[in-house]
Subunit: 353 residues, 2 copies
């Protein structure tokens, strides 16, 4: 299988390097051959060639079977008014590869649940799979200025087809889990949310009679996540609401450094391309190069890559088991050590290996 | 002074009735005359006259010096595809009265901080004033359908003038508090956010050199609120982000039933009309009529009404002091009793009186 590596900025290169060691160990143990190639993205690509998603990178990604991304961005490229910005690379790769679904599992590890900002008895046992729409909504709506630049607009927009495909994917995932789907919108105010809600209701009724559907308003959901996170199974929502809610939810486990994500398109059978796997955390430029970065989220991304990207569930389970064992036996990088003794980036990966 | 009362739906009438008793006590003690008049809004108005904001109500509000609202909505009127919906009354009254600023103080009471879903040591000492833009953004953008109804859109839009007035108000409030302003946007993706950020930067530099300004992305803010809520003073943001973030933040104190809000327009000197004061919580139809509703948020709204609406700071302080004393001495309605003995709606107000 061909795997495209996009290390990106800040701690990106360090954590991708450790994940590569894990992929190589999987290749050895299970007798696979992974062809790995490295490409520029984000700030690093802006510095090198003036483009956060160079044509070569895009081409290599399209030819790959799966993509592993570190992180992009940093203060150096932070001006929101700059013509070229690192996150444009992210947005464009999502769009160009048709990665319309972002999956983020939020499942606090028992060994770390004390690190949650929430009370332990609220958060323990939480097991949510967020499914965020990733190539539509206001992110990709028509935008610009009017009135001599004094008014700015950007259109929030969803079509039935866009809602159908993400809801189908989420409902299928719910069938493989607890059988419950929560759809989040703002249907009391927004027209795209009203369309979202009616399409979701129809798809579930017509195609997934075995999945229980609940509609929740986005403001209410922001509250529920803090007082009854255990009540949710699969949560599907639009691009902007998903951005905010998944980041809110990412605090629940108390260990952002352990959360992976997958961005998927249509299945291969329907002409879809490779999935993209990346940790939820950012590029943390302040600790880049210090050996403090936690590689475990990226290593857990390789597990998602193996399962959802390459169809290798046993290999994925082996990686996940090794990470849980390492954490269970007390291996802690600085971010999850709560002031106690911690290991370096490489030592954490060693423990997994 | 003339005060328009809009009890609304569910528990609205019960809690407004208790707040009225407090207003009358203030009138007696401080020798004021408050002319109170009651008007229809929300579901109750739909049932009575088929309009969630009847012309009579709007007229009475425009003639009042301040408005006290209970809550609107309930399952009976919940269909998001219905042509007439209770929340349209809320959105229209905001727009018609030019109530462009929604103020929500989030300050957990020490006596109740144990009820927070967050760990006590994270949340204790939090004191945030949210200032949410309330008459612009995607809430009031052009909306509709295309492609035979198969695509829905709604435009997120902000003008420089809209951003300037809300930022000025927030910065002035920061001057009277800790001198720090956090502006929340999504400037890395949205054009209206880029305008928001540049206008905010300019207004602060030109007019408020004494206020410290920080820009935070909305997804990051959703995280910060859970791990370092104490770091924020005044937070200003747009309509949609404010809706989500203030509801998230409303969970921090662990006592939603104690949170008031104020919606304000331009000052009277600039032709502005009355402010509108309402609790953050909803209409809780499930407990309407049972005597379980907590009237304290609405009573705290009368304090904001006295201070920000009628310019009576001593009267406001008296009400706030009485509420804090009541809670401090152990008065608890069911929602904040944590299973222990609780008082009724009327008994809670008695304690304040
Ligand atoms: C960097 C930014 C454009 C991006 C987003 O908003 O989608 C990020 O926050 C994310 O969630 O992956
Ligand atoms: C009822 C709804 C339209 C309203 C809003 O979104 O503004 C409510 O959530 C609020 O925050 O006052």
């Amino acid at each position: 299988a061909r795997i495209a590596l996009l290390p990106g900025d800040g701690i990106g290169p360090e954590i991708v390097a450790e994940a590569v060691r894990v992929l190589q160990a999987v290749a050895d143990r299970f007798s696979h051959t992974f062809e790995l190639s490295e490409h520029l993205i984000g700030g690093a690509a802006i510095d090198a060639v003036g483009d956060p998603l160079p044509p070569d990178t895009l081409k290599a990604c399209k030819q790959a079977d799966a993509i592993l991304l570190g992180a992009v961005g940093g203060p150096k490229w932070d001006d929101p008014n700059a013509a070229v910005r690192p996150e444009q690379g992210l947005l464009r790769i999502r769009k160009e590869l048709g990665l319309f679904a972002n999956l983020r599992p939020i499942k606090p590890l028992d060994a770390l649940v004390d690190a949650s900002p929430l009370k332990t008895d609220i958060v323990r046992g939480t097991d949510i799979l967020f499914v965020r729409e990733l190539t539509g909504g206001v992110y990709f709506g028509d935008s610009g200025r009017r009135d001599d630049g004094k008014t700015a607009y950007q259109e929030m927009v969803y079509s039935e087809a866009e809602v159908e495909r993400i809801v189908r994917l989420a409902a299928r995932l719910a069938q493989g889990r607890g059988g419950r789907l929560t759809s989040v919108d703002k249907a009391n105010v927004l027209e795209p949310s009203r369309l979202w809600r009616s399409v979701t209701t129809r798809v579930l009724a017509d195609e997934f009679p075995d999945v229980t559907l609940e509609h929740v308003l986005v403001d209410a959901m922001a509250m529920h996540l803090l007082v009854r996170p255990r009540d949710f199974d699969v949560v599907v929502t639009g691009n902007l609401f998903g951005d905010i809610l998944t980041d809110e939810a990412s605090m629940l486990p108390g260990s952002l450094g352990l959360l992976p994500s997958a961005s998927l398109g249509a299945p291969k059978s329907e002409g879809g391309g490779p999935g993209l796997f990346e940790p939820i955390h950012g590029s943390a430029p302040d600790i880049a190069g210090t050996g403090k970065a936690n590689p475990l989220a990226t290593i857990l991304c390789t597990a998602m890559l193996l399962r959802d990207g390459l169809g290798l569930p046993d290999e994925a389970a082996a990686v996940e088991g090794a990470v849980h064992d390492a954490v269970g036996s007390g291996v802690r990088t600085a971010d999850i050590a709560a002031g106690a003794a911690s290991v370096t980036t490489t030592e954490a990966a060693d423990a997994v290996l």
